[in-house]
Structure formats: C-alpha cells, structure tokens
Amino acid sequence: MKKLNRNQVKNASTYILVTAAFLILQVLSTQGKLNSTTKGFLVPACAYIVLAVSLNLLVGICGELSLGHAGFMGIGAFTGIVVTSLLAEAVPNGVLRLVMGMIAGGVLAGVVGFLIGIPVLRLRGDYLAIVTLAFGEIMKNVFGNLYLGVDETGLHATLKTEGLTLAEGGKMIISGPRGATGITKLSTFAIGFVLILFTLFVVQNLINSREGRAIKAVRDNRIAAESVGINVTAFRMKAFVVSAFLAGMAGALYAMNYGSITASKFNFNTSINILVFVVLGGMGNILGSIISATVLYILPEAMRGLQDYRMILYAVVLILVMLFTWSPKMKDIISVVTDKVRGVFRKNEKEAAFHE
C-alpha cells in the first residue's frame, strides 16, 4: 500500500470525523434520543459549516478579508426558494428538487461572484473588505424590496414598492420586506451532510492542487508569486467564485429549512458571525472551521437558559479566546507551561531508557 503523506492523513481524518459525527447524530435521532430543539439545529449547523469552510477558502487560504459572505448566502437562498417552488409540479421528488435548487443557488451566487469579482478584486486588504461589506448590504437591500410571483402568464418580478398584481390563481414567492413565505421545508440533515462532504471534497482538493499552491503563494507574497508567472487575478478570482458558489448552496440549504425567511437574515451580522467561525477555528484550517462553526453555533443556543446573559457571555468568550490565542504575552506563558510539561515527559523517557 502506498504510504499516505501528512496532507492526505489530515484530509482523511476530516472526512472520518465528519462522517462519524453524522452517523452518531443520525442514530441518536432515529432512536428518538434528540429533542426537537436539537434536531432543529442540525440543518442550520450544516449550512454554517459549509459557509465557514467556504469563507475559510477566501480568508484563510487566499488571504482576502470578506465581510459580505451573507450576500452570497442570500442569493443562494432566494434562488433556491424560487427554483424549488417553480419546479414543485415538474419534479415531485423533494430531494431532487432541493438539489436542483441548491445547484441553481450556487451557480447564480458563483456568477454574481464572478461579475463583482472583475472590478472588486483589483482592490486589496481593507478596501476589499469594505467593498464586500457594501456588496452584502446592497444584496440585502435588493432582496428586501424584491417582489416575485408566478401565475399562468409566467414569472413576474418587480422592485417597486406597490408590489405585484398577479392574475387569478397566481402565487407570490417573495414579497418584499415580508420575505419569502410558504416555503416547502425540503432540507434534511442527510442532505446537509452530503453538502458538507461535497464542500470538503471541493475545498480540500483545491487547496492541495497546483491551483491551491498558487493561491497560497499569492497570499504569502503577491509580488514574488507574480514574478514567477502566477496569474494573481485569475487565481484570486477562482477562489472567490468557488467560495461564492459554495456559500450559495449553503444558503439554499439554510432557507429550505424554514417556512419563511426574510432578507434581513442575510445581513452584516451574519457575515461577521461566519468570519468569527473562521478566525476562531484557525485561518486556513478546514477542520478547525468545521469544529468552531458547530460549537459556536450551538453555544449561544445551548445557553438559552441564561436568557439575557447568553450573548454577553458569548462576547466575553470571544474576546478572551482571541486574547489567549493571539496575545504575545499569553503565548509566552503558554510556551513556558508546555515546555515544563514536555520536560517532565522527556525526563520519564530518559529514565525509562536508563532502566532498559
């Protein structure tokens, strides 16, 4: 058997961990050991994991700060809703319909990502961050005022305040500030799991490919990368579009888990939350993103018992974690402690060697 290298072991262990977690939760769920609140967390948690991994591709691997990831999520969500409700009769199979909705959402998010990427990727650093923030706000604003409905004459859409008047028997799919209502809940935990696997497959293969190494080279030293012939813009664009595509799919999965959804869900705070998942999980660390997205999504929900204090605790935890993991002073203290611990082990080893 061919010996696996470190990256392959790391990748394989990510798949194994995710699969194990899925199987355990699925078994618990079928045996009725999970209460309905916990079950309600499963699909959104999957969506957030995909969002975190896709944003990690952009922030951690490509080194571009994005503050508008929720914008792509929103595009995916509303596209998914429209596609699935249009196909309600043509495709009776719910799973197939959801998959089609997710793909449509992902593709549209990817296309929009490409279109705004053309001008926007000329900017760098904090300026890129502020433009993505602006993009997210524009998307929220547009979806919050979009009226879209269908009747026998076809699909109608408007951005005017007075809304739409549909023919007899028509159905509103998105009604402006009230959002999309009457969504058929198609998302299931199993599909969420498959989407996570797909995301892992795409992102991990990309990272460990020739393209991925080029993207990392651009992140670490743009000028050096350019001088060895790497097309910087093309590779940044690739990461940007893939990230948008995956976020769109996650958005569709997320939206189809609820009966109704409004555009305000896809606001700046959601973008920031996803960014927090990525940074706390470790930049460029895919497994870290998965774990931190799960833990940080569940943490505030699990602390509901503390009511008003839960978000304040969350904030304190966030600040403390950042201080402990990044502060140079803390790092010194931690390294002293680990050295001591290591020293003890080394001593034991030496003694063991002596006795032998």
Partner: protein, 293 residues
C-alpha cells in the same frame, strides 16, 4: 427651494457621519485597526446623556459633558484591556476582538437599559429657522450639528498640526518604529487617539439621537457602518477625507431618498462607494502608496 432643503438636511446628517468617521479614521491611521466597536460607543454616549437629563434632571450641557467623559474612559479602557495585548498581531485577530467588544457593549446596554426603544429628547431647544417665506425650514438640530462638526474639524486640524501630541499622532501613523526611536510613546499616543475618537463618538451620539429620537442598544451599529463607509470613501487615515466622505455620504443618502427611491438608499450609497473605490482605490483624499519590491 426643495433642493436646498434636501442639501442642508443631507449636510446635517452627513456631519454626524463625519464626526463618527473621524473616530474611525484616526484609530485606523494610528493603530491600523478597524475598530468595529466604535459605533457602539455612540450608543453608550447617547444613553449616558439620556440618563443624566432624564433621571438626574441635570442640564443638557452637563449631560453632554458626562457622556463625553464616560465614553473617553470607556474607549481608553477597551483599548487597554482588549486591543493593547494584541498589538503587533495580524489585523484580523484585532478585528474579531473589536467585534467581540461590539457584541459586549450592545448586550450590556440591553441588560442595563432593556431593548425597548427610549424616546430621546433633543438637546436643541431653540426654534427652527424659517427662510424664504417658510419654504426653507432649518431646524435647530441641523444648525447645531453643522456648527459642531465645523468646530470639531477645525479643532482637530489644529490639534494634529500644531500640538505636540498631535504631531506625535501623525508621526506614529506615518512610521510607528521610527516614531518610537524618536522617543514618542506609541502606547500613550494610541491611547490618546482612542480617547479623542470616543469623545467625538459621544458628541455624535447626542447629535444623532437629537435628529432621530429613538434610542436602543442597536442605535449605533448602522450609523457606525455608514460612517466607516464614509471614512473609506474619503480615504481612510485622512482627517479631511473623513469629513468630506461623511458629508458626501449624507448628501447622497438624502438625495437618493428624495429623488430616486426611498427604499433603495442603502443600495445607492454603497453602490457609489464601490464605484468611487474602483476609480480611486485609496478613497477620495487617501494617499496611493507605491508598492516597493
């Protein structure tokens, strides 16, 4: 006449954005960090002044001074506890900490003052000015806001240009290491910057809530994002840029609400930002730094 009315209102709201943007831009210029908690300092300032006038019954001037004092202390405290230990680490780590601080302030405010909106009574008491036979109405708030922003702008320009501390601030923002070698205390300078920015945020909070009288824990976040946008629009790190960006943003917002579409003002404002950044990637008055190989 209508157009002048909108222009004046736009300049007024833009002046508030400008005062907030000054805080963003100074902190960014000197500490190279995006302080996302700045918007929430505005909210704290507004609450303090609200409490001092409504619960303690003290005059308006005292309430503004109290708000400024509390916010200055709060800004310096936050800097010392949350940002200072992270100096020299990647900017993203500090950004996330700032977001944590922002969550903390919002939720602490919710615990202390509850999430139900408070009705803020305007600090300006004199009658609106009626010009051109009542066609042009300039409210007292508008006059006070515009005057306040001009005073602050002139004051800050003088401060950064002429005083020792101000010069130190410019030196630190230009080249931190060189400034340190010249005997400037970087820590003290950054702390002073936070103090000034937070005091300005308190004034902005009072002015903002005098114009838009609902006060709740999330009051500061949207103006905060707007002001941040304004700072970037004008060229982040530049004080006149923040002023220009803020006023421009306010005018664009008012005009697009009045003439184009009231519900798409957000999209228009942010769209303009994107277009300007594409034409001038460092903002209107920002310096284009040449990359050295």
């Amino acid at each position: 006449m209508k157009i002048i009315q909108y222009l004046i209102n736009g300049i007024s709201i833009g002046s508030v954005y400008a005062i907030i943007a000054l805080g963003y831009t100074m902190v960014y210029g000197i500490a190279k960090m995006l302080n996302f908690a700045h918007g929430d300092i505005i909210m704290v300032g507004a609450y303090i002044s609200f409490c001092v006038t409504n619960y303690l019954g003290l005059p308006v001037v005292v309430s503004i001074l109290a708000a400024m004092a509390v916010c200055t202390a709060l800004g310096m405290l936050i800097e010392a506890l949350a940002y200072k230990p992270l100096r020299g680490t990647p900017s993203l780590a500090v950004l996330i900490t700032a977001i944590g601080v922002s969550y903390f302030l919002q939720n602490a405010a919710q615990l202390i003052w509850s999430s139900s909106p408070k009705n803020y009574t305007s600090v300006v008491t004199f009658q609106p000015l009626r010009l051109a036979g009542g066609q042009l109405v300039i409210t007292g708030e508008v006059i006070v806001t515009i005057i306040a922003s001009i005073v602050i702008m002139v004051g800050l320009t003088w401060f950064t240009g002429k005083t020792r501390t101000g010069k130190a601030m410019r030196a630190v923002s230009e080249d931190r290491e060189a400034a340190e070698l010249m005997g400037i205390s970087v820590n003290k300078t950054i702390s002073t910057t936070f103090a000034i920015g937070s005091a300005l945020a308190a004034i902005a909070g009072v002015l903002l809530c005098s114009t838009v009288p609902t006060l709740q824990p999330t009051t500061g976040s949207m103006p905060g994002i707007r002001a941040f946008t304004a700072a970037v629009l004008g060229g982040i790190g530049s004080i006149p840029g923040a002023m220009l960006g803020g006023i421009l943003l306010g005018v664009i917002e008012t005009f697009s609400k009045a003439y184009l579409s009231p519900q798409f003002s957000d999209a228009i404002v942010f769209g303009v930002l994107i277009v300007i950044l594409l034409v001038k990637p460092a903002g209107l008055l920002g310096k284009q730094v040449q990359e050295k190989v």
